[in-house]
Amino acid sequence: MRQTALQTVYELAKQDSRVVFVGSDLGAGTLKEMREELPSQFFMEGISEQYLVGFVAGLAKEGFIPYVNTIANFFTRRAFEQIAMDLALHNLPVRLLASGGGMVYAPLGPTHTAVDDFALMTSVPKLRVFSPGDANEMRELLVHSLNDPHPWYIRFGKGGEPIFSPSEQPQPNKPKLFGDPRAEILFLTTGILIHEVLEAMKELNKSSNNTVGAIHFSELTNVEFEAWAGRYQTARKVIVAEEHIPQGGLFSIMLRLLHGNNLDTRKMVQSSLPFAYLHNYGSQRDHLSAHGLDSIGLVHRARVQ
């Protein structure tokens, strides 16, 4: 997903001289070709995220469209104030490309896992927050980002995820609907967890009498409701699955949205990471499994009353 994103930025930069790529001490080979071909649109700055976000705000204020890449936490925690004040307060079109969303960097410990980024970023007015589920969605979102006037935060997955979305999407940020439109069990999810949800749906379709459906949200801000309101109302049980702490993520967003539309929220249950600093290492998959967020855990969650 990251490779697709960076390659797409390079393609956009070739088409549009306003596009610049800005990294913060990224790996040596990052966008080597772009660096050589378009040196004035490529910046590799030091390990200084507060500066980095202010710097791109200055560029954006003068008409450039910066695509900025570093590890998710170093944006959301280290440079939170710069994101809120320099980017969002001024509504500047900067794209924050956040590597290592969720538990991707589980082996590196709690300093590197981005499990509170949705909560932090969706608290910032004007900032649009995205969590694509595959490389196609990532690519299409970035293409659409070129002409959007607002700042964006985009959570990256690990890469190598299966493809579940079409290669050309007129509106890549629209919720994507899967399974039976009148499903009794409905999953709501975002980011790479869609793959676990789709696996869980296959298993439930084989082994359960209940009909199953799912909705994937690649954007957590400006969530369109009408397209899936009927599915929500029909469902008997709704499972919100997110690779995030319980607070401030997809579940919280859905609660507010559904409550605001006078719908019964008591049938929603949450599957999330715990509200804790996780001191186990291992892999992202180990953590999804440990906290019931892999397909096995989600099937179990669907079956229990």
């Binding site: 200084s48 507060q50 500066y51 200055g58 560029l59 003068e62």
Partner: protein
């Protein structure tokens, strides 16, 4: 000359009629709100006034073609905004907006400057340490667009406690930003007392030079020195840092070098009148 001598000089220098007029207006507009960062605003008045009156270009009309080629100014120490507001008003750059309702609910003018409510203000500031990184972005943008306008940013000496300034300083030199001018308002005071009692920033010139800035030191209340330093084009390929030695509360004996007047609320009209009559010419 050591910095104490430089502060003595800054304390001694007299005020021009422009400087007195601006200070009177500054005090007048704090009457309604009964609050404001008066001390930090008084230390930057000559810096801002010389910049807007004699140095920066193409600022007259936000709707004109020339506006895109204007010099950019950022008040990184946004709490000094009263000093900026009165200069903008004096030069007729506020498009008729009413400064006398400073800090009221419907005012365009808050306790920190906002570009969304006052279009001639380049960038909203308040939380310290934001101006320098943005200024570096603006200066790089000018280079990329091959345009000749300059970027001026005023930072406070206390503000330099924030590490983001030094991140930006290192990058400004990496990018050879000879179109960037950093002006340090060195009034030797921060909110809780003297700089040296809180976090020593001296030797300040050597710090900027070590990063690669061409650095000069001047009296920040002396209009001639300011003009000379700000108008002279930077002949080096390095960014320029002007350490301007100033006095917090400059011009009002009661407020000079006093952290009490860093920020004050519930100021009575009688107090403001007393400060106004205390103005030293």
């Amino acid at each position: 000359m050591n910095y104490l001598n430089r502060h003595t000089k800054a304390l001694e220098v007299g005020l021009s009629t422009d400087s007195v007029r601006l200070r009177k207006r500054l005090l007048e507009i704090t009457k309604n709100a009964g609050r404001g960062h008066i001390g930090p605003a008084l230390s930057i008045i000559e810096i801002v006034d010389v910049l807007y009156r004699h140095v920066m270009v193409n600022l007259e009309d936000t709707q004109s073609k020339e506006w895109s080629r204007r010099d950019r100014f950022l008040l990184s120490k946004g709490h000094g905004c009263l000093g900026l507001y009165v200069v903008l008003e004096d030069l007729g750059l506020l498009d008729g907006m009413d400064l006398s309702n400073f800090c009221s609910y419907e005012s365009n003018f808050g306790g920190h400057p906002e570009s969304s409510t006052v279009p001639v203000i380049e960038f909203s500031t308040g939380s310290l340490g934001h101006g320098m990184p943005v200024a570096v972005g603006l200066a790089v943008a000018a280079k990329l667009k091959k345009e000749s306008w300059r970027v001026f940013v005023v930072v406070g000496d206390g503000e330099l406690n924030e590490g983001s300034n030094w991140e930006a300083a290192a990058h400004a030199c990496k990018h050879n930003l000879d179109n960037l001018v950093v002006i340090v308002d060195y009034n030797n005071m921060q909110a809780s007392g003297e700089i040296s009692d809180v976090l020593e920033m001296y030797p300040i010139r050597e710090k900027w030079e070590a990063f690669g800035f061409k650095t000069i030191e001047i009296n920040g209340h002396d209009r001639k020195e300011l003009k000379r330093a700000l108008i002279t084009s930077n002949s080096s390929s390095s960014p320029l840092c002007i350490v301007a030695y100033t006095v917090k509360g400059k011009g009002i004996k009661k407020a000079e070098n006093s952290s009490v007047w860093h920020h004050k609320a519930k100021i009575s009209a009688e107090e403001i009148n007393a400060l106004t009559s205390d103005l030293t010419i």
